[in-house]
Symmetry: C2
Subunit: 303 residues, 2 copies
């Protein structure tokens, strides 16, 4: 069995980025991704691919990055005496125009630490996940999301889906509101391979998650894109986008890690909605469509 | 000299809230403040006064609160063995509709710690400040703000203005963007009286700051409210409001303190703009009005 290297992982990730962008452009039918390469002074950089003002996508990004360098202080407690790190991954956030087409987020990442730039690995892990944030969740889409993710997980380990689904529900909770930012999905982090065989398995799992993105999202976009909607639906979408911004700015670890380690601001904050609203003490009236969305933002057993 | 008590401070603060609301209603001419009282399970509560959809004010709040109870863990490091705290203050944030009328923020607060609910005070301090966040800063308004605040400060201590002005510039910096959220003002915290005389002085200073709010803001509103503006001006206002939300959600200590200590969410997040936008990698072109605002968001000696 071939040993999995950082280069293998990067090759997969850059290919994934390209494939997903091509397919999202086909889904959108109008807007094209624009490339934006950037370098990090301390080492590494990335390629942000950004889409704006499409027929489906109001704003979105599919970002690849590989940053490396001296281990930042914020990570030293986990360091096992390592001095150098590499982090590589693909991050996606898409904000659709249509209030019935959900925001989707995906991230797959690999992190390793060593004594020196290309020294022996002292610690390494995989992380990632896919989750959906509809303004108007429905059962069909939510089941499709969770079933697909469960199938992906079960191929590797039947404990994965229940564990990572729960982790996702907890991670993406806006604690001060006691509600999730969306309907969940899966989230996992610090999956540490103990040997080369496990590393190969975790790399395959990364690929299975990455490759499930388009099958999951394409169906959901197509099912909802033609529905008619009103100004009231847009209004609720803006409120839910405000919650999305709240979560990302107050709680998201990736965002805070990026802001504290001199990450590229625009690539990190690409996740923020194009347009969000906050009304004072807004709660939907009972018997409205909006009121019926609220139970979806609480953890629930789906599959 | 009469000893200053928590009751004296609360009496001033509730009166200040009422006076400011009456005057803001006169300035707006249409919208009225709506009262919203709330209680904190662990002790205390507040009165939020909220204005929405006025001729001048799109969204704003003038909040009084007095919360008390067992000292939360997040404060225990500062506790000098005290077990009980009281915190009282008035907080204001106003988001005007007009892109040339600035967002204003004021807070004056008093904090004390003791062994038991009404026990002897073991530690106490005053904090507060006023700062302005215009989308289109101009020299006249910025000078008026800083001159008025310097006059207020100089009556008490000539070291106050330079110290608190610098503190404000630093505190209200969006670190990841290396820019201030506005044009500053004053900010101070942990002003600890060593004796009753100093406590009386600090309470007078609190009153002087609180009483300067209307004189500062009224003039700025009146000077700008009749200017004509375009969609481009609204656009930049939305971008600057996005920065305001970024600051408050990522950095503001008051916001994080409130979210972590089971504060009243809607009163804390009342500070968020009614409507904000994030564009990918947006920087104004040179030779535009927007480009000319950028130097104002860097610290500058005003008076």
């Amino acid at each position: 069995m071939e040993k999995i290297t950082l280069e293998h992982i990067k090759t997969y990730l850059t290919g994934l980025q390209q494939t997903i962008c091509t397919q999202l452009e086909q889904i959108d039918g109008k807007a094209k991704f624009v490339d934006d390469t950037w370098e990090r002074v301390e080492g590494g950089g990335g390629l942000s691919k950004v889409i704006q003002n499409g027929t489906i996508f109001e704003k979105g990004g599919v970002n690849f990055s590989h940053v490396h360098g001296a281990l930042p202080d914020v990570l030293k407690s986990e360091s096992r005496d390592a001095q150098y790190f590499h982090a590589t991954g693909v991050s996606i956030v898409l904000h659709p125009i249509h209030p019935f087409v959900p925001i989707i987020h995906m991230n797959v990442r690999y992190f390793c630490m060593s004594d020196e730039a290309n020294g022996q690995i002292k610690d390494e892990w995989f992380g990632g996940g896919i989750d959906l944030s509809p303004a108007y969740p429905n059962e069909v889409d939510t089941l499709h999301l969770h079933r697909t993710l469960k199938d992906v997980c079960d191929t590797f380990d039947t404990s994965y889906y229940p564990t990572f689904k729960k982790w996702c529900d907890e991670y993406f909770t806006i604690k001060h509101r006691n509600e999730m930012r969306g309907v969940g999905g899966i989230f996992y982090d610090h999956l540490r391979p103990e040997n080369e065989k496990e590393k190969a398995k975790l790399f395959s799992f990364m690929q299975a998650v990455g490759n499930s993105f388009i099958p999951i999202y394409q169906e959901i976009v197509q099912k909802n894109r033609a529905k008619s909607y009103s100004q009231q639906h847009k209004q609720w979408q803006f409120i839910r986008r405000g919650r999305y911004a709240e979560f990302n700015l107050v709680y998201d670890r990736g965002t805070h890690f990026g802001l504290r380690t001199n990450g590229r601001i625009e690539s990190i904050l690409m996740s923020l909605p194009p347009h969000a609203e906050w009304k004072y003490n807004f709660t939907p009236d009972e018997n409205t469509e909006e009121f019926q969305t609220l139970p979806f933002f609480q953890p629930k057993h789906w599959v």
